[in-house]
């Protein structure tokens, strides 16, 4: 499938499996944590790392099998890293506005919104 050396395949394989593991960990956190404010943390960081690792693997793979150094893929990673905190912040503000019920064990279980 690829015309690169075996160690390039090994590095790409490691990064791809790491990306899958991060995405799975983030999604397990999304599916199992008790309330919305705890569910906000896990998927944001884990999906950023997941897509970042996939992009690094793709950059290494296509640089080794293509004509030149292909760094265009790092644009997605930069975009996702910049926009994920913005999305998380706006979703948290929306949840506070709607008085989303918080589990009593999390520190955000207050009665009035902060904004």
């Amino acid at each position: 499938m690829s015309s690169g050396a075996a160690w390039v395949e090994a590095i790409v394989s490691v990064f791809i499996v790491i990306a899958g593991v991060f995405a799975l960990i983030g999604s397990i956190g999304l599916a199992r944590l008790p309330d919305f404010f705890t569910r906000l943390h896990g998927p944001s960081k884990a999906t950023t790392l997941g897509i970042g690792s996939t992009i690094v693997a793709a950059a290494i793979y296509f640089s080794s099998t293509g004509p030149g150094l292909s760094l265009r893929e790092l644009l997605i990673s930069l975009f996702v890293s910049i926009t994920t905190p913005v999305s998380a912040h706006l979703l948290a503000k929306a949840a506070l506005q709607r008085h989303s019920p918080a589990a009593s064990s999390s520190p955000s279980g207050r009665r009035r919104p902060m904004v």
Binding site: M1, V12, I16, V17, A19, G20, F36
Partner: protein, 89 residues
């Protein structure tokens, strides 16, 4: 070794997508569903890049970039609508 690791990664990403859909169906409030949709968008973009590696073609990167951008925009629009009732003040 690359084919085996691509299959393992596809299985992991598929399981992650199923868990996101589970939260999408189950989330008690609308913001939970908005968060599940945003995570679905980013995971789908990662899976598209993985598909491009599996096929050996660098053309799927643009589709992944588009999906990531659309996911961010729709999450922002949904969050602003749920906060205030309109999207552009």
């Amino acid at each position: 070794m690359l084919t085996i690791s691509i299959r393992i990664a596809f299985a992991l990403f598929a399981l992650a997508l199923v868990l996101n859909v589970l939260r999408l169906l189950r989330g008690p409030d609308l913001v939970d569903r908005a968060l599940a949709l945003d995570t679905l968008h980013v995971n789908a973009a990662a899976m598209l890049v993985l598909y491009g590696i599996a096929l050996g073609s660098a053309r799927y990167y643009e589709a992944a970039l588009l999906i990531a951008m659309l996911g961010f925009l729709s999450t922002i629009a949904l969050a602003k609508y749920l906060t205030r009732g309109d999207i552009i003040e």
